[in-house]
Symmetry: C2
Subunit: 379 residues, 2 copies
Amino acid sequence: MQRVPGEALGQRQAAVRQAMAGLGVDSLLVTSLPNVFYLTGHEGSAGVALLTATRSQLYVDPRYAEAVAQLQASPAAPPGLEVRIVPGSYDQAIVDGLIDLGVTRVGVEAGHLTVARHRWFLSALAQAAPTVELVATEGLLEDARAVKDTHEIALLRQSCLGLTAVAEAAFRAVRAGATEREVAGAIEQGLRSGGYARPAFDTIVGSGPNGALPHYRAGERRLERGDLVVLDFGGVLDGYCSDLTRTVAVGEANAKAREVYAAVLAAQQAGIEAVRPGIPASAVDAAARQELAQRGFGDAFTHGTGHGLGIDVHELPRVSRARSDSSAPEGLLRPGMVVTIEPGAYLPGWGGVRIEDDVLVTENGYEVLTSVTRELLTL
Amino acid sequence: MQRVPGEALGQRQAAVRQAMAGLGVDSLLVTSLPNVFYLTGHEGSAGVALLTATRSQLYVDPRYAEAVAQLQASPAAPPGLEVRIVPGSYDQAIVDGLIDLGVTRVGVEAGHLTVARHRWFLSALAQAAPTVELVATEGLLEDARAVKDTHEIALLRQSCLGLTAVAEAAFRAVRAGATEREVAGAIEQGLRSGGYARPAFDTIVGSGPNGALPHYRAGERRLERGDLVVLDFGGVLDGYCSDLTRTVAVGEANAKAREVYAAVLAAQQAGIEAVRPGIPASAVDAAARQELAQRGFGDAFTHGTGHGLGIDVHELPRVSRARSDSSAPEGLLRPGMVVTIEPGAYLPGWGGVRIEDDVLVTENGYEVLTSVTRELLTL
C-alpha cells in the first residue's frame, strides 16, 4: 500500500491545530475513523485520535498493536505520534488520557459522536475531572479534507485512472443474456485486478427498468437487447475512492434511449465546464440541471449533481441545489477539491441514464481525472 | 431478493411499541438504517422511520420513491406503513411530521443519533413545537434484533450454508505463488456466484506473518510453502450476514503450526459447546479463553470470542470478557440468538490461526449454521 508520508500528516495536524485555536479549544477528540486515518494514517475499524497544541495520540485496541507498530516504523509515521494500546474500554482510556494531558476545553466531533457516547463522557468527566469541558465542533476535519494536498491528488489520480481498465472489463461483460450480478462480478474482479483494496460502494448494474432506480444495486435480471444499462462503480486504492458511471446499450439503442442519453450527456458536460474555483458548488448543479430542464427532463433528475470524493466516497463539498432551509453561507469551490459530476434522468418503468466522472478543481478551472469514453456504447 | 413478509414486520413493530410504552415514549424516531430495514423492509443509504402507538411512517428521498413503491405493492409491505417522499431536508420533514402526529415524548436512538443532529432537532422543535420532548433511548431496536424470528433464522441459515461453496472456491485458490489478493478475488467471486449481494465485510486473506494481524485485509504478498493462511469472509444474502474463518496450510504444516491450530480448534470447540440459553455470553468467551490459556496461548488471543450476527455483521450479543468497568447486568443468551465463535492466536512475526463458525442458540443448546470442515487443510 502506498502511504502518505508522515511529514504530510504532520502538516495536516498543524492545519487542524490552527482551526482548533480559532475555536478556542485546547484539544480535539477525533472519533470519526476516516478522520483518524487522515490525521494518523491508521486504517482500522476502531481507533481514536487525540490532538493538543503540542501532542498527538492514537488509541487503538490490541488487534491493531502490530499494524500500528509497522506504521510507526515506516516513513508514513506521523511525527511525534504517541500510541496507546487500550486493552479495555476506549472511552475510559480517553478520559484518563484527557486528565493526564491536563486539557480543559476538549473539542468533540458533533457530526459523528453519538448522543449516548457524549453522555457517557460527560458523566465520566463530571466525576473524574469536573474542570474538563466538552465543546461541540462541526466539520473541522471535513472542511480540511475537502481540499486535497498534493499527495492526495496523486492518489486520487491513480484511483480514478485505474477505472479505465475496470470499465473495459465491464463493457466486455455486457451482453444480452448476462445477469446484472454477473456484470457486477466482472466489475469487481476488474477492481481487484487493478489493485483496489475493495469497491468504494456497492456496485450498481441497473438494466432496463431497473435503471430507473438511482440506488439500485445488481440483481438476477438478465440483460435484454435494447436495454440501457447503468454501470456505477468505483474502488478504494491506497485509501482513496474513485467513482464512475457509464450507461450503455445492449445490442441497439432506440430513438428514446438516444434522446435521454444526449440530454444527460449535455447536462454532464455543462456541469463539468462550470467547474472552477471561486463559485458556489450549487452553480455547477444549476448548470447541469438547467440543461436537463431545457430538454424536458428536469423532473427526471431526482438527485444532486455530485459530491466530494476522497477517503470517503461521499464527502465535502456537496454539489447540489443551494439549501433553501439553511441560512449558513455556502462554501465556494477551491483548487484541490475533487468532485463527481453525475447527472441522471430516471423514467419509472422505462429505465434511466446516468453519466459520471471525477473532476479536480484546478487553479484556473477543472481537470477530469477519470478517462473513459462518454459516447453511447452499443454492446 | 427474498423478503420477510410484511406481517412479520408488523409483529416486530408491535414488540417495539411495547418497549416504547415501557419507556413512556409515545413515538420513536428510528434513524439507524439497519433498524429502519428491520422495521420497514426499506433497504437504502437513507431513510427514517417514525413509529407511534398506532401509526408507522417511512421518510425517504425521491431516489427511493420507485423502490419503496415496489416494496409497498409486494407481500413484504408492512401493514399500514405510510410513505413520505421528502424532496428537501429529511430533518425538517420529520419535525413537521412530529407536529402533524401530535406526539409529545419522542424517543430518539441515542446510540446512533449524532450530537449535531440532536442539537438541530432540539433547536427546531424549541421554535416550532416547544411541547415536544426528545427522550434518549438506547438499544431498544438492537435488543429486539438480538433474538431472531423464524424468518430471520431461515435467512441466516441460507446465508451461512452458502459459505460452504465459497470456502471450496477459496481452498481451490490457495497455492504457493498466488497473491493474497487473488485468493480474496476468488472468495468474492464465489460470494457473487452464491447469490450474495455483497461481502459482509472486507475479505481477509492473511498469509504467513500477516496472519498475526487479526484485522488485516489482503495484499500483494505471495503465499509460500509452509505458510498458514487466515481466510475470513462472509456475505450478505437477502439482507442477512454470514461470517466464517478457516486457517489453512500451504503445502505443509510444521509442528508449531499444528500445535497452534490444535489449541485454537480446542478453544473454538469449547466455546461452541458452552453455548446454551440462560448463561451469560461471557461464559462462552471464558470457555474458549481458558482452553487457549491452558495450552500456553492465553496472551496470543487478543480479541473477544465472537459477536451477534444478523442485519449487521456485528450486533448484539457481544461474546467477550465480562466488562469490569460496567455495572449494568450482563444479558443472557436466549434461543434465537445467532453468534460467531471465533477464537484465535496471533504470534507477531510468525503468523496466526483463527477458526470461526456461526452458531444459533436453540431451546436446549446450540446448532452450528455454517458447514465447512474444521480439520487443518494442507493445500
